[in-house]
């Protein structure tokens, strides 16, 4: 009885402790998400008759969305963007950086700081900075380098748009990956390596049989965070290409923005946002379940 009372009191205390986080979460995350679901079932717009008198249209926006080739294109572009920049680019380079920083190499702190530096620039600033390097014409930085070697200049954002967007996002995210994976590496006990070394394991075997398995929870936690956060990347892509040329770099976030704030169809844009939310949730759940990561 006394234990129950204690338990209840403890639960109430925990609730009070959680309240400062719970209230903003409800107001700023849960409510907008629920409201987006409602909006997606209306023809709400920023201009025209629908702005003054929006109507309930049921699932019409979703039916239209699923028959819209541009929407499927945006999902494909998002897939390439996430796999290319978050899962391959940032992870691989971040992991290499984390391992390199553990070793006693000359200039390691400078190397670490240099990798973290891109995070200091806001997305849009980073985007414009890269435009100045990748743009066509003989004033762009990369073009100047090519011209110096006697090569014709290339408009990188026109010729290889998606690859360039992937590259820039990789550049921007290596630091975060490095920090997270460095923390994971630090948690691997040194004794295990010591024992493996005494058993005659070579570096490759130690990496494959010790480092990777013991890092798995950290790696998958990183994958979860980076996948979900990369799906929602907007400012960088919008500043770089606005989703073009054509729709070649129109990731789902840019597609949603274009529908909502360029074509001014808020209801239809909200339907796209709800689908993006469902995709992110599904991926998150899949990650968590596949490795039983404690989040």
């Amino acid at each position: 009885m006394a234990f129950d009372a204690f338990q209840k009191r403890k639960e109430r205390q925990l609730l009070w402790l959680l309240l400062p986080a719970l209230v903003p979460l409800l107001i700023l995350t849960i409510y907008p998400a629920v409201y987006a679901v409602y909006l997606s079932m209306t023809n709400e717009a920023l201009t025209g008759v629908a702005a003054a008198k929006p109507r309930f249209v049921g699932v019409a926006n979703y039916l239209r969305l699923f028959s819209d080739g541009r929407f499927w294109n945006s999902l494909f572009v998002t897939f390439v963007f996430v796999v290319g920049s978050a899962i391959i680019g940032q992870f691989v380079l971040g992991f290499i950086s984390a391992i390199a920083l553990r070793r006693k190499i000359v200039g390691a702190p400078v190397f670490g700081a240099a990798i973290l530096l891109p995070n200091a620039a806001p997305e849009v600033v980073a985007g414009f900075m890269w435009i100045s390097m990748l743009a066509g014409g003989d004033h762009a930085t990369l073009s100047k380098i090519l011209v110096f070697f006697g090569l014709p200049y290339v408009d990188w954002l026109q010729t290889f748009p998606l690859f360039m967007v992937v590259m820039v996002n990789t550049w921007r995210g290596i630091g975060t990956a490095m920090i997270l994976l460095t923390a994971g590496l630090a948690a691997v006990p040194a004794e295990v390596y010591e024992a493996a070394r005494m058993d005659g394991a070579n570096p490759r075997q130690m990496f494959m049989r010790i480092t990777l398995p013991l890092m798995a929870p950290t790696i998958f936690l990183y994958m979860l965070i980076s996948t979900v956060s990369t799906i929602s990347v907007f400012g960088l892509v919008y500043a770089l290409t606005r989703g073009g040329p054509g729709n070649k770099t129109e990731v789902i976030s840019v597609y949603i923005y274009n529908q909502s704030f360029t074509a001014f169809q808020i209801g239809y844009g909200a339907a796209g946002a709800v689908v993006a939310l469902v995709v992110s949730l599904a991926l998150g759940i899949a990650y968590v379940r596949s490795l039983k990561v404690e989040v």
Binding site: L46, T47, G48, Q158, P245, G246, F261, T262, A263
Partner: protein
Amino acid sequence: MSFGPAVNAQMNEKFRYSEKWKECSILSCRQNVSVYIWVVTLRDMRRRRAVREEIVNKLVAGGLAAIALSLLAGTANAESLRVALHGQAGIDAFTPTAERIEKNLGIDVEIVEYPAPDKDYMTKLLTELAAGNGPDLFSIPSAADVADMVAAGYLAPVGAELAAWPEYADFVDVAKQLAVSPDGETYVVPYILGIQQIYFRRDVLEKAGISTEQPEDWADLLARAKEIKEKTGSFGLLFPAGVSWGGGAFDEGFSHLIIGSSTPQLVTEDGKFDLTSQGVLDVFQFYKDLIDADLMPVDPLLGPEPWVIPKYEMFPSGELAATTCGSWCYIFDWGRESRNPIPDVTNVVGTWADPGQNGGEFVLANLGAPWAVNAKAANLELAKKALLEAGSVENQIETAARIGNIPASNAVQKDPRFQALTELVPIQAAANHGTYLKQATGMSVVSEGVARATEALLRKETDAAGAQQILVDHVRQTLGDEAVK
């Protein structure tokens, strides 16, 4: 026996100027010291609290004084008006008018700078208007947006004010007609016009021995573009297209052709959109012919700011020999206000009227960023008075000088300041002969549909019939089946 290091440190600190603690016995001394430390700490706390209170009091007093001063400053003019402007040229052009409004109406004008590209400006403006916190006075870059903003309830009717305004009698008829919304009311002051034609590099054509005569019809125009490409290697003709150009794909591209087609209007008598017509199909076929023959620079049109390379780089350098443009090109794009001016622009760059599909000549007229009043303006009457100042002859001339649009009032013909703008004088005199597209609610959706359809053509994803289907589908899906004839 010795005290702990912490106590010793405190004693040294507190009794720095006293030797009394050395005189007591160890036990009593330790008690005395403890008591003394508490007393000193308490006194210290009180002193700090006093200092803190003093600082807080000073901050509060200072803050109150600042608020009072700002209130006093704010009441220099009891009323204020928030005006949305975008683009440095627009801000420079409007600044003298803002000063006149302040002087004549005795109010403060707060100029708020919005994002420069029209598309981003409209996004911010519409979002704010929808949220109910839009500016009191603003301009609308694309005339295709006006009817939809009226339908959304964002614009205050100003027909009565314009009718009672003596200066309005001098406005050319085409401007007044363009300002009337589908419901018969007027919601904007049509102070300047965009008079558009095809601009070509006379020097490039003459040098290559290509005719500079007015093309007779679309076939002749296309043949001229091909000849330019063959003889000079330059792109022969540009019609703005694609999603990135925003409203320009419709206003500065598609409209030039549809007015000369077999079905020159998009809106039927009952207010529906006639988009399945032969004229619309033929316009898209003309785009396709230009693109397939590589007569139009396609790559720049798919980039984020598609006007920059063709208009500001390729045309001045002669890499592009002809393009649709408005009177502003003689001043803003390639003239004295340009960053990349063409020397002797009025002689080097000539104009052709838009040829009709089967003959005829058309000069496209549309409203140039008309001013409107927010229906939810804090002080509607005041905002309407300021609107008339924005429509004044002075603002028309200042805008013409900075940007190159055509003043809507015939009164400018007697004004020496306008007479000095020699590039614009003959165009203004002929403004009343302009042809224009009838507006209807939903026109902004048609404009977006045209942008999407022409984008598909640019990317060579479809043919003319497919582009027309993209336009029809977009309008049907957005406005409903009943909106399309």
